[in-house]
């Protein structure tokens, strides 16, 4: 899978983006969707860190390492995809050298790169816990030093990711040209900015919950104490409910005020098959409200299959939201004589997509195999590690 990914990415880099099915009208495709989604899911890292180190929710110590790795995986994957996505990767540094401070994308690029480094640093101590490395004394000292740092890092990380999660939302919120996506702002940022932060924060824990559950199923070991997952679920649920409310308010404002202001009655967007109003419903209720409620009802939360499926729903909900913001926005016509566009990724795009996913799975499973992702694992006595079965993971990722 990785090979295939590399090959198709290579094609796109060497022969140019004509390999993709994107075009002048559909300038963004699968990759941007991928970026937005994985970054949203990777948000678990910063938020758990935030809760653990800043708000001192000690229980989360059980998953923090795993969270960091997930974050790292997601972000590095996103950055990789972005590098393939741009037409002139050689000029990536222009953004830092000649930044346009008004652009959301600048904000995103800055934050993501900074945060990636933060994650790397956070990743180091986990690496250092590796048994063999522990024999080197100087590394031990280094690690000890790092541990003092980690609080700062968590703070910085939270700040950074708070921003870029937001700016990712802003990315489309500022598109005045697309009344479907355009939102009025609070302060300098459009409302989507805050919605994205919230939703990312909500989805993050769910995703960690999901992966933890998955891994423990696959490696059939108990990785964390039983109360941790429900806790994650509760956090996710609370944030989710907040998000749903905010989203609803925002949508109402948009339907009744923003969109008509731009000269487009909101119903028009949903007159295009297949994107009927159902998508709005799915986004807010089916994949928003319902899982939130499930996660908030203690009885259901304690049943692992309810818990897990609710978490899954949440993640899907976020993915759906990102899909709507990116692809549906571009698909909808703006000029009266535009057609409604359809787009299907070419195999090269899909290949790169899979490549990124594969890369993620690989890194995660290796970290799991050789590093100590779940500190409590050792306390809960278990048989020796079963080898990680990747395809199974990949399929469900």
């Amino acid at each position: 899978m990785l090979m295939f990914g590399l090959y198709s990415a290579g094609l796109c880099l060497v022969k140019g983006l004509n390999q993709t099915n994107m075009d002048n009208r559909f300038a963004f495709g699968l990759w941007i969707f991928l970026d937005l989604t994985v970054i949203a899911l990777g948000a678990g890292a910063f938020f758990t860190g935030f809760l653990l180190y800043i708000l001192k929710v000690k229980e989360l110590g059980a998953v923090i390492n795993s969270a960091v790795v997930i974050g790292l995986v997601c972000y590095s994957g996103a950055v990789a995809a972005l590098l393939v996505d741009v037409g002139q990767p050689l000029r990536f540094w222009f953004t830092f050298w000649y930044p346009n401070v008004h652009s959301m994308l600048t904000e995103v690029t800055f934050c993501i790169t900074c945060y990636l480094t933060v994650l790397l640093i956070e990743y180091v101590p986990i690496v250092l816990r590796n048994r063999r490395l522990r024999q080197v004394p100087s590394f031990l000292i280094f690690e000890f030093e790092l541990h003092k740092l980690v609080y700062v890092l968590a703070g910085v990380g939270t700040f950074l990711s708070f921003f870029h999660q937001g700016s990712l939302g802003g990315l489309f919120g500022v598109l005045r040209g697309h009344p479907f996506a355009f939102r009025e702002g609070l302060a300098v940022w459009p409302s989507t900015f805050f919605l994205f932060v919230l939703s990312a924060a909500a989805a993050g824990p769910s995703f960690i919950l999901l992966t933890t559950w998955l891994v423990s199923k696959i490696s059939n070991r108990q990785l964390v104490r039983p109360e941790v997952l429900p806790l994650l679920g509760r956090i996710s649920g609370m944030l989710m409910i907040a998000y749903v409310l905010a989203k609803t308010v925002d949508t109402l404002i948009w339907i009744n005020h923003t969109s008509p202001g731009a000269g487009v009655p909101a119903w028009q967007y949903y007159s295009w098959k297949p994107f009927g109003t159902w998508i709005l419903f799915a986004e807010i209720v089916a994949f928003g409200l319902i899982p939130a409620l499930v996660l908030l009802t203690p009885r259901l939360r304690l049943r692992s299959n309810w818990l897990v499926s609710a978490a899954a729903l949440t993640c899907i909900g976020i993915a759906l939201n990102r899909f709507v913001m990116t692809l549906q926005t571009l698909a909808l016509p703006t000029l009266s004589f535009d057609p409604f566009l359809s787009y299907f990724p070419s195999w090269q795009e899909t290949g790169t997509f899979l490549g990124v996913v594969g890369f993620g799975v690989l890194v995660y499973s290796f970290s799991f195999r050789y590093l100590n992702l779940f500190p409590q694992e050792r306390d809960l006595e278990q048989p020796e590690a079963a080898p990680v079965r990747e395809p199974a993971l990949a399929g469900r990722y």
Binding site: L90, R91, W93
Partner: protein, 505 residues
């Protein structure tokens, strides 16, 4: 002391840090980005002095005046004169020499020898796809000189249309607003004529016309009959009220009546409507040296079957094609077909030999008066680009067969025009118009070459054309139809491929 692995690490680390303090890495990053500005495959435009040159567009019989912007001698863009714009095709003309399908090499001498041998005792025929040029005269002279030479014209001489007098046009599928006549003239006249387009297809003209008669395919003549007699016409799919009103309109305004095909009934109706002599007038040609002794124009139908031994086709400036089926029968069993063309697109498939010709704007020649000019004109198309080595000039080649030196034919004709002393020459560079008698022959010749048009004086009433049954009332001339046969400049992709503005026919 021996270096351990850790020392090596330290060394490397030091190196890295040191390197960061030198320009090297930063310069490499910058250069990589700069390299992307001119990596292989991005051409560098040639710099040089900008000059302006004038010529006439030879792509269609309209022969619009062309103002070429050149870097050095290389034209980089073509544009019309103020008030006399070029069509989309004309604007791309300077790219034609570079189209992919172009044929460049052939052994002209061998072909010449073969033809010469057979010309002695076989019928040699020249098929001229754009009659009325000086080259056409050369062909006729050559055929007159050969023992058994025949001159075939793709179409019989066309009467001119006096657009100023036109009040209403009923067109049977003629693309009046899309490549017919001289675009600028049609555009100016458009304000004072009403256009009724009878056409089955939803053509550009049909949709831009004042009225569109959506008739059933192949019922054009039935419509004509119905309009003439006031009866029938049910087959056209129009209701008789419509037909009646149209017929009425035509009678009201002395109408010009266009038709795409040659047909006596169309002609008859035009005559009946009084269009002939008023809006349909004789096409006048510029004077010709008396010394030139031309062969008659033989209509293709009157050529006996299987009689032609050698058929020479001049496609170099084709404006109307004859279907191959029509020619095939006239050829002797072992006939030799030679076509003068720049690509295989036309008769190249049927011809035994294809002699490459120069394409506009490499070619030298003159353009017969446009269909919508009632006055005689004489306009040269002079090369903006030097033609590649190995191309053949059809006129000189065919003239050569009959020992006629056609190299100076154009100049001789210019001399004859000057000798006639009528009309005036309008130079494009300064937009002045000088009576011919006021300038010297060589000045006249020079002016023509630098971009000028000789126009006959308007004096005298417009003569009614001599019309045979075979005469098309007005021939449809359409670059798009022509383009379907010939090569197109690469940039037409903008019209056909990268926008849905036009569809290939």
């Amino acid at each position: 002391m021996k270096a351990t692995r850790r020392d090596l690490f330290k060394f490397a680390a030091g190196g890295a840090t040191g390197l960061l303090l030198t320009p090297a890495p930063w310069r490499l990053v910058t250069d990589a980005a700069l390299w992307s500005e001119n990596w292989p495959g991005i051409p560098k435009p040639v710099r040089g002095e900008l000059r302006t040159r004038f010529t006439h567009c030879a792509l269609c019989p309209a022969g619009c005046a062309v103002k070429a912007r050149c870097v050095g001698d290389q034209p980089i863009s073509l544009i019309g004169l103020p008030g006399k714009p070029l069509c989309a095709f004309g604007l791309m003309g300077h790219q034609l020499p570079y189209h992919a399908g172009r044929v460049r090499q052939a052994d002209a001498d061998a072909v010449r020898a073969v033809i010469a041998k057979r010309a002695a005792n076989e019928t040699v025929a020249v098929l001229d796809l754009r009659p009325g040029r000086t080259a056409s005269w050369t062909y006729r002279r050559a055929m007159a000189a050969l023992p058994r030479g025949v001159y075939l014209a793709a179409r019989s001489s066309v009467p001119a249309v006096n657009l100023d007098a036109v009040k209403i046009i009923l067109s049977l599928g003629v693309p009046v607003l899309d490549g017919w006549g001289t675009p600028s003239n049609v555009q100016q006249a458009r304000s004072h004529f009403r256009l009724i387009q009878a056409e089955p297809a939803e053509s550009r003209t049909a949709l831009l016309a004042d009225q569109w008669l959506k008739i059933r395919p192949g019922t054009e003549l039935e419509l004509v009959e119905a309009l003439a007699t006031g009866r029938g016409g049910a087959g056209t799919g129009l209701n008789e009220k419509v037909i009646a009103s149209v017929a009425n309109e035509l009678v009201q305004a002395g109408a010009l009546f266009l038709a795409a095909e040659e047909s006596p009934s169309v002609l008859e109706l035009n005559r009946k409507l009084g269009a002939v002599g008023k809006t349909i007038v004789a096409q006048r040609e510029a004077p010709v040296p008396r010394s030139w002794k031309p062969a008659p124009v033989t209509p293709i139908n009157s050529v006996p079957e299987r009689s032609i031994g050698v058929l020479l086709i001049d496609e170099s400036a084709a404006d109307s094609y004859v279907p191959w089926s029509k020619l095939e029968g006239k050829l002797a069993p072992d006939a030799l077909v030679v076509t003068f063309a720049s690509s295989q697109a036309g008769y190249g498939r049927q011809a035994k030999h294809l002699l490459p010709t120069a394409v506009y704007p490499e070619s030298t020649g003159d353009i017969p008066p446009a269909i919508d000019s009632p006055l005689a004109t004489f306009r040269l198309t002079t090369p903006l680009v030097a033609p590649p080595r190995g191309v053949v000039n059809p006129a000189q080649f065919i003239g050569g067969l009959a020992a006629i030196d056609a190299a100076d034919a154009l100049r001789e004709r210019a001399g004859a025009i000057h000798a006639a002393g009528r009309g005036s020459v309008c130079t494009y560079a300064d937009g002045r118009s000088i009576p011919v008698e006021d300038i010297q022959p060589d000045q006249f010749w020079k002016a023509l070459n630098d971009g000028a048009c000789w126009i006959d004086e308007p004096g005298g009433k417009l003569l009614p054309p001599v019309l045979r049954a075979s005469t098309p009332a007005v021939v449809a001339l359409n670059w798009e139809k022509r383009a379907a046969r010939g090569p197109m400049p690469p940039l037409v992709s903008k019209l056909y491929q990268e926008s849905n503005l036009r569809v290939r026919i």
